[in-house]
Amino acid sequence: MTDIILAGLGQTDVGEHWDIGLRELAFTAIEAALNDAGRLKPQAMYVGNMLAPNLSRQAHLGALLTDFAGLTGIEAVTVEAAGASGGAALRQGYLAVKSGLVDVALVVGVEKMTDQVGAGVEEALATAADSDYESVQGLTPTAQAALLMQRYMYEYNVPADGFAGFALTAHANGAGNPHAMFRKAIKLETYQKAEPMSAPINMFDAAPPADGAAALVLTRRDLLPADWPHPLVRIAASATASDTLALHDRKDPLFFEAAYLATGRAIKQAGITLDQIDFFEYHDSFSIYAAMSLESSGFAIRGHGWKMAADGRIARDGNLPCATFGGLKARGFPGGATGVYQAVEAALQLRGQAGKCQVTDPRYGMIQSLGGPASTAVVHILEKI
């Protein structure tokens, strides 16, 4: 079987880009990725985006971005799965190149979340939930996560600052990432004194909505030029799964079934065991989701995911480094671009180009992209070869 290589990596700074539009932001990442890939010529573009039709009143990003990037004529579509859009776009790129129908694919994640603030953004984000039965009740994604965190803390007797380790780890790692929105470590007291949002979620339990774009060039190993300059990173596994859209329709709301299924499929596909994963980029849109992701993916037993953060096991020198570039919490949460950022970051780790964020000599990195409360989960395992 031919290996699918992450041949080009590009990303913009994550933050409030009031001076840069959607198309320019995406183009910056596309150019960076194409340059990194030695100007390989893409035949298809898969765009991961969640909110442009809502917040930028702009749909049809495939045509917009190929046009703006001077790539008119190639195949181009948007892939949407809420916060998992980036991971879902990567999977489409992978399938296209793996099938042999496309030789070189561009995967672009782009999101502009800060042109609007307040009620408009909350309304847009709420479109990812069940409109008829959740959003109509005024439910927001933050409140949805708070409902889970409240119940989790009740069932497992978690102390009030039990989830602090996720924010501490994220910010400590974000400090070394030049593209991160927040590049400053925080102290436990900062977490303990943080303003509540929807209790028990406070400001440090929730990732900040941000603007950003990231891009990948995928191709088959045999199509790379002989003088290829980068260490080779391949997609060892690509898997995805769905769960009920509405939280209330789940028999066991404290377990991310889709994360469990997608991780299981990916591990099987890669032909490895979970303990061979050297680092894990989880989807910490909320600290409770990071904890549940660790449990549902099999890294922790039920009710113990938060302890992995509290005990330092997810720190850069821990046994499973997580959020190595700051995660969604400190790098920032650029909606549907997030999954592509995760892939860029994991590939940098495996190439040994992660700078101050570098973990020691990794071979396998797992990335997990979640839509809503894991109503969609997309898992990729990347391997240095």
């Binding site: 009620a119 109509v136 005024g138 439910l139 927001t140 709301p253």
Partner: protein, 136 residues
């Protein structure tokens, strides 16, 4: 706002009408036509009692458009006595007195308006602590 969309959901919104599975007797809300328990076809209407208990709750301060004039407000996952869970706002209660497991009952309340005094108002179910003495 989309009038037909809210109109066609009136049985669910005003009377908590879901379905009962003719094959395995599971009670289903919201109606979904395929039984989540046995995957058989389930289209038999079933009116829920509106009684249940709080599975979890939280308070929203940063509300979406159409809801921001009501903020802060409290939402809960309510486990209905017949089995299913629903997402709903809580009303007629001080959030400080809420706890997981508290019995609640359905009431009909205003959900949102479109900000226009001649515009549509959406009504639907909320839940309040069960057994409250009605105020005059």
């Amino acid at each position: 706002m989309e009038i037909p969309r809210h109109w066609r959901l009136k049985k669910q919104r005003y009377a908590l009408v879901g379905e009962v599975c003719p094959h395995c007797d599971a009670k289903i809300f919201p109606p979904r036509d395929v039984c989540p328990e046995c995957k058989g076809e389930a289209k038999e209407p079933f009116a829920f009692s509106g009684k249940g208990e709080i599975y979890s709750y939280t308070t929203i301060y940063e509300a979406p458009s159409g809801y921001d004039s009501n903020a802060p407000y409290t939402v809960a996952l309510v486990k209905l006595n017949e089995g299913p869970m629903v997402t709903a706002q809580l009303t007629d209660v001080d959030a400080a007195h809420l706890q997981i497991g508290m019995p609640v009952e359905m009431v009909t309340r205003k959900m949102r308006d479109d900000g226009d005094e001649r515009g549509m108002i959406v009504y639907g179910y909320k839940f309040r602590p069960a057994g409250l003495i009605p105020t005059s």
